[in-house]
Homo-oligomer: 153 residues x 2
DNA sequence: TTAATCCCTAGTCATTTACTAAGAAATCAT
DNA sequence: ATGATTTCTTAGTAAATGACTAGGGATTAA
């Protein structure tokens, strides 16, 4: 039940972009340095975020990335689900249609539980935006703390 | 963010035991047959459940397993955490003391989010007992449905 | 005494994770 | 125009994890 580095690094990168919102394109190299992430790996994470229309890119020298919308319009849920897939504890709560995994799923007592877990996770992450994170960063930290995000992987 | 088969199979097995609560020891072989799980694998899952005092065993012929407490006193959370470890999206919300992962964790804006996810998951699974599942099974299924749990893995 | 059962450990195969590497395409600055 | 800088894409890989299988010892009812 752990998030992978994809989601965690992606969220860090998006928060970094949020802190630099409105300041033109930010290069992946600079994000990678600030957040201690490999550039090559970060490139693989930013790609789906761009396709999901959460960031936009400017190519060429002095290019980079910026948020595609204001921080208040980008939820943590949108970021995490683009990088991790649905935040569901099982496939059965999420896969519909063609190849339904299980005949009895309509009356499955465990599926009910997994759906509740799914809903509670979704509800949390969809209610938090990058703007909330920025506000949280400004209000909660002591004056002498400059780092906004753990260095941890 | 998926549960592994350990948690899912373990929950199925525990629900099976709950359905047979008060009827003496139930053999792993019979549980495995009903729930379509390999006996060898199930043995590896029941072992930690026994050590966590959620089931007790009777050895020898005609032996088997039974719930160590009434279904109303066994939560889904206890079962899942025994088999999966803490239902946390990251290690950083759960590891304390000796080797703290990160210096800045006290003011980490992403850690706050992971803690909220952790709390919401914990709150859901700790509020559901095996008795709730039994009640759900009895009340919600149509008369012609006999299976309580998906066959799905 | 035998069959059934719990109990424990080791091994294995496939998948996933977390990257590294490398090169093509675009664009700015000179 | 050229070179430096940057995005973009794909392929490969080493380590870890997941999901088992296999086998044998210990215990007990019949």
């Amino acid at each position: 039940m752990k998030l992978s580095t994809r989601g965690r690094y992606g969220l860090k990168a998006m928060f970094d972009l949020a802190m630099n919102y409105g300041e033109g394109p930010i290069s992946l190299t600079s994000i990678a340095e600030r957040q201690y992430i490999s550039v090559n790996y970060l490139e693989q994470l930013i790609s789906p975020l761009r396709k999901a229309n959460l960031v936009k890119s400017v190519r060429g020298a002095q290019g980079g990335y910026m948020l595609a919308k204001p921080p208040s319009e980008i939820t943590v849920g949108a970021i995490l689900t683009t990088l991790e897939g649905p935040l569901a504890p099982t496939d059965c709560v999420v896969e519909y249609g063609e190849d339904e995994l299980c005949d009895h799923s309509r009356y499955c007592v465990t599926k009910v539980i997994y759906e509740k877990i799914y809903e509670s996770i979704t509800s949390v992450v969809n209610s938090i935006t990058l703007q909330h994170m920025l506000d949280d960063y400004e209000s909660n930290r002591p004056a002498d703390v400059v780092d906004a995000i753990c260095v941890c992987k």
